[in-house]
Symmetry: C2
Subunit: 318 residues, 2 copies
């Protein structure tokens, strides 16, 4: 069994690679919900949906999120009425949000709804939100105010300096059913190449989850989302700098070293291996820029080997 802590696009691509070398039944994804939001009365879970769309082969390949070929008819009508439309919800995508919102209103938990959606679209792995309780990532901006994740990420295009990040609700959130058991029982825990501040830390902030990882850090392998000093996508680089870390593979090692014993870094950062090992984190060099399914599969094999979880072919299922 392998458990993966996941954010959005990078994690989705990593999972896609992992499922090409490991049976889906053997994988549990524990997904960040700190980005979740409510818009126009609808409950939106961006990271869960990105993973669902990616693993079901329906993701928009040019963005890495949303549904391929989606239309924006409802958005255009909303815009015509003067409604807020900076968060673009495609019509097909809306179907997911309508389903989720309706079920949540019926009293179903987010983890139940997530399992239903995963089953409907035929995703074999176990997909768990980190918590059924609301945790909301809040960005405290240098200019003085505080905004929610989506306002920072989408509306402000993460182009504003951040002075602090908090995870509202985390202190009283409980891990979703199955999360702690999966993380405790897994042969290997992987921290996917996701933003450490915005995708991984919210998961670790849920009481119990961070502790499990700290206790088993020797069998936790993280993949650096920073390559050659830059984030492949999003603001991980500038956030690490703004919050007192370093925008580099070594900076990721320092940021996550309490929770992982091994960090997989890109070949472009091979020279940082020494610094990372010196920080007490084993370092594995691999090709991490998942520009093709083959690279993603290769990265998954490297992670499995780094974690001692087989040679990447033992449980190959296709």
């Amino acid at each position: 069994m392998i458990a993966v802590l996941c954010g959005g696009v990078g994690a989705a691509r990593f999972l896609s690679g992992l499922l090409s070398v490991v049976a889906a039944n053997d994988v549990t994804a524990v997904v960040n919900t700190g980005d979740d939001t409510e818009l126009h009365g609808l409950s939106i879970s961006p990271d869960l949906d990105t993973i669902t769309y990616t693993l079901s082969g329906r993701v928009n390949p040019s963005t890495g999120w949303g549904v391929a070929g989606d239309t924006f008819t409802a958005m255009s009508a909303l815009e015509g009425l003067g409604g807020e439309s900076w968060f673009r919800l495609g019509d097909l995508d809306l179907g997911t949000h309508l389903y989720r919102t309706g079920r949540l209103r019926d009293g179903a938990s987010l983890s139940t709804v997530t399992a239903e959606v995963a089953a409907s679209v035929g995703i074999g792995l176990r997909l768990l939100p980190m918590s059924d309780d609301p945790v909301r990532t809040r960005l405290h901006l240098e200019r003085g105010d505080e905004v929610g994740f989506q306002e920072y990420f989408v509306k402000l295009r993460h182009d504003v300096p951040v002075s602090a990040v908090s995870y509202a609700g985390a202190a009283v959130a409980r891990p979703a059913p199955g999360v702690l058991e999966s993380l405790t029982g897994a042969e290997l825990v992987v921290i996917a190449p996701s933003n450490p501040v915005l995708s991984i830390d919210p998961i670790l902030s849920v009481p119990g989850i961070g502790q499990v990882l700290r206790e088993r850090r020797e069998t936790v392998v993280a993949v650096s989302p920073i390559v050659a000093g830059a984030a492949l996508k999003g603001p991980a680089d500038r956030l690490l700098s703004e919050l007192g870390g370093t925008a580099s593979a070594a900076g990721v090692a320092h940021w996550l070293r309490g929770s992982c014993g091994t960090l997989v870094i890109d070949v472009a950062d091979a020279a940082s291996a020494g610094e990372i090992e010196a920080a007490g984190v084993r370092c594995v060099v691999a090709e991490t820029v998942m520009s093709s399914p083959a690279v993603a599969a290769g990265l998954a094999r490297s992670v499995l080997q780094a974690g001692g979880a087989g040679d990447g072919t033992r449980s190959r299922n296709r």
Copy 2:
């Protein structure tokens, strides 16, 4: 000033005719919200939307509700996930529901949102929900259970016997701002050709509204939605029968006689005029089946004349 008590499709067509012979500024529509519902977390106000779509020329002409040329992409995705899709929400239509729901969640009242939507699409008349408080029409079925309006109307296709109807929340609902003033101050109040049980009675059930109409019934003109013993649309005929009334123009006169002094009936029912007058309701015979804009305009003129509110050309605005 003319105030019109309105339900859905019939009322929308009547208003359309009225606005061709009276300046829109002189008209206030007080609209039934007993059909309102919440689906997938979205706040749906079918009668308000039917009127908005009709008066802005965007209504689906074949159904009388929904937006012409709408697509159902979100619905198809929802269906794919196993979601409830018996209430068909088109993509353009969804834009309206997203806007309304978002604004209501922001704390705006339904009457504020309704005015915003009317202004956006350029409807000149004053469009008021009967109340900003929730009133929900409930159908008590002969088979023993109780269902909401949309489940009765759409899901069960109003094809089940009803033993009673109630308006949940009506006892504590307040008329929306402007409703009582409009009804009190209007030269003429019109009860549009809408279902007496499902569209008009919910409005009359809001404390204060029924009383105003009873007090000024001599200057209230209703239009019968029953022609030759049958409803032009929907279950008005069978409901009148099931609830102890009669499915006829005379039956409408009996049902509404406390609230209107005059009833406009169709030429097909001219023979009922005596029975209606005997029930204490003045009777006017006109062409009421609004098969074209010209007929709708003619009906509006007949109603104005019946109410003594001018000859129907005095305040003609186009």
